[in-house]
């Protein structure tokens, strides 16, 4: 192993751990909240099962607003909110708050788009069989959309990694922050390059895994 990596091994592992926490929380937020929000966006849309103009416009606007913030500004803007729920606005835990918010907005949009591609006829058949909204969602909609949902999540995770790299501004740490502070600011270009390589490897693994899973579960 290159000497410089040995020298900074402890910090590097810590940075990787911080990135994992930040991205992990983002993924959880995307799946646990982004998926339902995206599903609601889809269902409330005109002509769909829970058509509701007010609900749709509200959610739609909210997601758009969050997505139109430059991410750095969103982080700053959310500081009071972060302090409210975490108790502090500094550190890795605090960094997960804006990340979770952008993750929900980001993935919900991809979920909505994926669901829009599900043939309407399949849902109509479900309704004609007497399926409840809940059954339509879980036994038909998600089954038909599952490969797109995985592709979307893959794309989202890669964006989350990218978002997580700037969390140094609120002391969130992570690989990106480490690369900036030690590699760039201390002129250790070699160290910075290694960090970039680590990120590239992560992204490759995620992209490959996501696409493989998506292909395996797609029977269309």
């Amino acid at each position: 192993m290159p000497e410089i990596l040995v020298q900074y091994e402890a910090q590097i592992w810590q940075a990787i751990g911080e990135t994992f926490i930040m991205v992990g929380v983002s993924i959880l937020a995307a799946v646990l909240l982004g998926l339902p929000v995206g599903t609601l966006l889809y269902l409330c849309r005109k002509g769909n099962l829970l058509e509701n103009r007010v609900a749709f416009s509200t959610l739609n606007l909210l997601v758009n607003i969050i997505r139109s913030f430059p991410f750095l500004l969103l982080v700053v803007f959310l500081i009071p909110f972060t302090r409210l729920i975490i108790g502090t606005a500094i550190g890795t835990a605090a960094a997960t708050v804006p990340l979770a918010i952008i993750a929900i907005a980001h993935y919900s949009r991809l979920v909505e788009q994926t669901l829009l591609d599900v043939p309407k006829g399949v849902l109509e058949a479900a309704v004609s069989m007497g399926a409840s909204v809940r059954s339509v969602i879980f036994k038909f909609l998600y089954v038909e959309a599952r490969s797109g949902l995985v592709v979307g999540l893959t794309t989202s995770i890669i964006s989350f990694i990218s978002y997580s790299t700037i969390m140094g501004v609120v002391g969130g740490g992570g690989i990106g922050d480490f690369a900036i502070r030690f590699g760039y600011q201390q002129f250790k270009t070699e160290l910075m390059m290694y960090m970039i390589v680590i990120m590239v490897i992560f992204v490759q693994i995620i992209q490959f895994t996501g696409m493989t899973v998506a292909r395996m579960i797609d029977k269309r």
Binding site: G121, S128, M129, G130, S135, K139, F140, D218, K219, R220
Partner: protein, 249 residues
């Protein structure tokens, strides 16, 4: 028995169904024919309330479905099977799963599901296709799976929206034969919407002709039976020769 009483349906300003009343007796194969855009599909979809009428009543076995909400409407729908021109199978479910889901929805006893799915598939002649996905089937086979799915809950009625309109003549005959069986052997009342005269003539005992969202006329007919389709190339030549001279190239 299905009865529509003065049913109206608008889409925005457009009157798709205008004051339609009709009665479909038990055991019939009832046809609805008309030009494209006449309102046939809308009319069919009114029967299981996929479209909610603006005014009028939809009575199925004496019960007005327009008065039902939530679970009671869903339960009523389970006794009315439906098949579509585009089959509408779940592409990510196997043939078995496509049919089983209908049983799940009606809380069919878990242990008896497999047997029931097999029974339905046997009825449509696809018992060997359980593990296949829809993408691996021909159009006619997909429609037969859709029929098996619609039959799983032992419905009293089967609504068919252009069931053969995207199929070749062979598959059409195959599907029509199954529908005939569904009616004859299982006693299911069938409503078929089609713009193809041959399809209607081969099966229907009563036919409503629709035009511009209205009933133009309803006539009793004698079903001609499903035409046998021969795959023999000679059959194609004979058919070509039937109405005139054929110059052999």
């Amino acid at each position: 028995m299905i009865q529509l009483h003065h049913v109206n349906k608008r889409f925005e300003q457009f009157e798709a169904i205008k004051d339609v009343s009709l009665t479909i007796d038990k055991g019939e194969i009832y046809g609805i024919i008309g030009a494209s855009g006449a309102g046939k599909s809308t009319l069919l979809r009114l029967i299981n309330l996929l479209e909610v009428p603006d005014t009028g009543a939809v009575e199925v076995n004496g019960r007005d479905l327009t008065k039902l909400r939530g679970k009671r409407l869903r339960d009523a729908r389970k006794s009315i099977g439906m098949i579509f021109q585009g089959f509408n199978l779940v592409a990510n479910k196997t043939v078995y799963e496509n049919i089983a889901v209908s049983l799940e929805l009606s809380n069919y006893p878990r242990k008896e599901r497999r047997g029931r799915v097999e029974e339905c598939l046997r009825f449509v002649g696809l018992e060997d296709f359980m593990k296949k996905y829809p993408a691996q089937l021909s159009g006619g086979q997909k429609q037969r799976v859709a029929i098996a799915r619609a039959l799983a809950n032992k419905p009293e009625f089967l609504l068919c929206d252009e069931p053969t309109s995207s199929l070749d003549p062979n598959s059409t005959a195959e599907v029509l034969k199954v529908l005939e069986d569904v009616n004859k052997r299982l006693g299911v009342t069938i409503v078929i919407v089609s713009h193809e005269m041959d399809v209607i003539k081969s099966l229907c005992t009563q036919v409503t002709v629709m035009a511009n969202g209205e009933v133009y006329e309803t006539v009793r007919t004698k079903p001609k039976g499903v035409k046998h389709i021969d795959n023999n190339p000679k059959y194609f030549v004979d058919q070509l020769a039937k109405d005139g001279e054929v110059d052999r190239a």
